[in-house]
Symmetry: C2
Subunit: 478 residues, 2 copies
């Protein structure tokens, strides 16, 4: 392996090839579930240097096939499924894209932004906004995550309802292949039917089929106004009725529809009382709605008022508040975003990031709640998520009397099994937005169709026959 | 081959395996450029029967490898690039999906429609509308084309600006693989990050990677009102300025932005005088705009008036008319849709379906017009298309004095070369929405990046190692 390290130092400069000191920022996963050991952390500064790293690793494979070196691409290392940290073998090179952080171009008439993989998501949002545009990808980790990681994992977030996932926001990619070649697929084209959709195949492949080095992203005109409301909703079927009304009244203006269960909000109220959670005591569910209007604040408010009046009349909400200003709107969003923190304060818990068809959410929650409370008396269910996308963070907190760590040891497998079987019965997904990584590999094998898994394995074998790129993520290394 | 025919008759019933009589509906391509000869036309009635056809062909391959039978999937056979008709070998089975024409489900709360591949596009539009929803895929052939063909070719059309291509309108697929297995990938999920994006890989693969048998499609609430306007625009940069204004004023309400050149409109006026083409004499370009409003007709009209006033004030339009009723709106769309017909009436011509970044359209048109008129004095350029998507139908009509057929013989290759080189120089695509088929195969090899072509070939080899599915389309059969 020493020959490889020397080659990497020669290519990138010695100070961009880290093998000593504290490498925990690259070796430790975001949720601190596991820590691997890297052969080296390399920080290339250009696409050509990324290609050089891949080629150096291919050469090392030829020299020493019995110790197969591999590459773990890494962006902001904020993933939740252990997909971007090395394993314990000491034979994986962490390839950090963080130094590829230039915005290459903004094309106002084409409504596109071209940026390198290491750009921080929030930086891109600000860059777009400064030019009068919206880049709508938005999620909790946006201050640390990178666009390369967002694309590698097909990140979701809070505006998927209107703008789609990361995949929907990308028009073209620049990629270093497993052969160390560069695919110059950056494109500002909205229509291009010249062959297979390599772009969407690479997006969401979690660094296992190629290394994304840059992307051309879609921009939208900045809305003239954004309004946020918070409504108390008597039941899940009524939450769906509200969603239906919101689609009709707001059309494409509906950019957020977040559901929160009463117990989830009680935790926020308990652990973060300064947030002043509205309306939660009076209702089993609350919904946060966002209306983005291209016309004016007045128009946005009229639209919202009309929607909420109709919803009150139909009985699908029992009460509602509309944020009077930006600060109030941010405070409502903060309540929504604080739920994971409040959960941590309450103690260890079992997280799921599932999706079912929107129409099946009420039955899914009723059935799965019943299964769990029957199996584990006193279990506490933290339910919140992006109802408009059918995506729930369906989390399970230990019964009040129990030690949380002990609860996890005893029940994590059982809880996962029950929840995932229920997801399957409702035609859902066991990973809506977080991806597979190494954490959900075994679950994927149990729950994905064998035909689909077969096609995935064939594609992996075709594009990365050496198994050089992020082996053991998404698919088991064979 | 007789054993295969017998097996197919046993599986599907003798009357669904056609080998005699007039097979031109399946053997002749839509533009009548070529006619192949099918070993048989088979019309399975279910997904299981489609799988049985594939398995029977695999068995025939094993029996007679020296005469390799293959399968050409076919929907409405309205494609423009000879991708769905058999070659001249007499060894290809045309697999028509037309009998798979059931709408399987409409889920109002999930905003999805599940339909089989052989459903006619217009039928699905009507089915959605009857339930109060919009299925926004819309194109000239919608009365004959099938949703399977739309997905197989990633069809575009007139509403891509707002709703995207066919790929953007599909949440899940049911597919028969090249191994004759069924991938049950129908999904009503808006978020699902469990592995590679097989759906988008299959969509647009023109039947070369699998046979789409059903799909789950996205629906939208029906807009409350739709308004159409027609504006005279002094130049292409001003057309872009109008597009910019329209994005700002109408937001997601902007569902159509079609550009038409003066010569294109003069042909419509000459050959279809009953259409009464508006404003075309006074301006080198006209634009058709569509505003879909979720609020009301009054609101739609206010929005449009405000936009057109601003556009007049900024000088990006010189005049405009807004349709007063649905009949007038349809008449404006009819003018737009009639241009290909008017071209046919004027004589044979060379068609291109190209895309460049929206911002580069004015320079692309200026540069390419100059190249062509210099190379072929008197050549007449028919320019129209979806400006909002950067997609032009950049067509070339013979000089007035010349015989059109003779012109094509002499100049088609030269014209294609000049246009495609210009497309390449502007970072564009040589096939924006029509696909590759066999017609553009050679051009694709010249213009697509070798790295991308290499990945495409590896994927084809991985998913269809026998080369059973639509060989010689998209990629050369090796």
């Amino acid at each position: 392996m020493q020959a490889l390290i020397q080659e990497l130092r020669a290519q990138l400069g010695a100070d961009q090839v880290l093998t000593e000191g504290d490498l925990s920022a690259w070796e430790q996963d975001w949720r601190k579930r596991d820590r691997g050991r890297a052969l080296a952390v390399v920080r290339p500064g250009s696409t050509a240097e990324v290609a050089a790293v891949v080629q150096a690793c291919i050469a090392q494979r030829a020299r020493q096939p019995e110790r197969p070196v591999s590459i773990v691409p890494q962006g902001g290392n904020t993933g939740l499924v252990m997909g971007s940290t090395p394993d314990a073998s000491g034979e994986q090179v962490v390839l950090s894209l963080q130094r590829l952080n230039r915005v290459r171009a903004l094309d106002a008439d084409n409504l596109t932004l071209t940026a390198e993989a290491g750009c921080i998501l929030a930086t891109l949002q600000q860059h777009a906004q400064a030019a009068g545009f919206l880049f709508p990808l938005s999620l909790a980790a946006e201050g640390s995550c990178t666009i390369g990681g967002n694309l590698g994992t097909n990140a979701g977030g809070t505006q998927v309802l209107r703008y789609g996932n990361a995949r929907d926001l990308c028009l073209g990619l620049e990629v270093v292949t497993a052969q160390g070649e560069v695919w110059h697929g950056l494109s500002g084209l909205r229509k291009d039917n010249t062959g297979y959709d390599l772009r969407d195949l690479l997006i969401g492949s979690e660094g296992t089929l190629g290394i994304i080095t840059a992307a051309t992203l879609k921009l939208y005109p900045l809305p003239a106004a954004q309004l946020t409301a918070w409504a108390a909703v008597p039941s899940l079927p009524q939450a769906l009725a509200l969603l239906r009304l919101a689609h009709r009244h707001l059309g494409a203006g509906l950019t957020g529809f977040e559901l929160m269960g009463q117990f989830a909000l009680s935790l926020a109220d308990k652990h973060l009382p300064q947030l002043r959670v509205p309306l939660w005591r009076q209702s089993p569910w609350c919904v946060l709605l966002e209306n983005s209007d291209h016309e004016s604040l007045t128009h946005a408010r009229e639209q919202f008022d009309r929607l909420l009046e109709a919803a009150l009349a139909e009985g699908c909400i029992s009460d509602a508040v509309v944020a009077e200003n930006l600060a109030q709107a941010q405070q409502l969003w903060q309540v929504r975003e604080s739920i994971p923190l409040a959960q941590v304060a309450e103690g260890l818990n079992i997280k799921h990031d599932i999706a079912v068809p929107v129409s099946r959410i009420p039955d899914f929650v009723a059935a799965t709640d019943a299964l769990l409370t029957q199996a584990i008396p006193g279990v506490r269910l933290v339910n919140f998520g992006h109802l408009g996308d059918g995506n729930l963070h369906y989390n399970v907190q230990a019964p009040q009397a129990l030690d949380a760590a002990e609860f996890l040891r005893q029940h994590e497998e059982q809880v996962n099994h029950l929840v995932f079987e229920s997801v399957r019965a409702f035609g859902g997904s066991i990973s809506a937005e977080h991806g597979v990584g190494s954490l959900k590999l075994a679950h994927l094998e149990q729950h994905k169709s064998p035909v689909a898994l077969g096609m995935m394995r064939a594609i992996k074998q075709a594009l990365d026959p050496l198994g050089l790129l992020n082996p053991g993520r998404v698919l088991r290394h064979e």
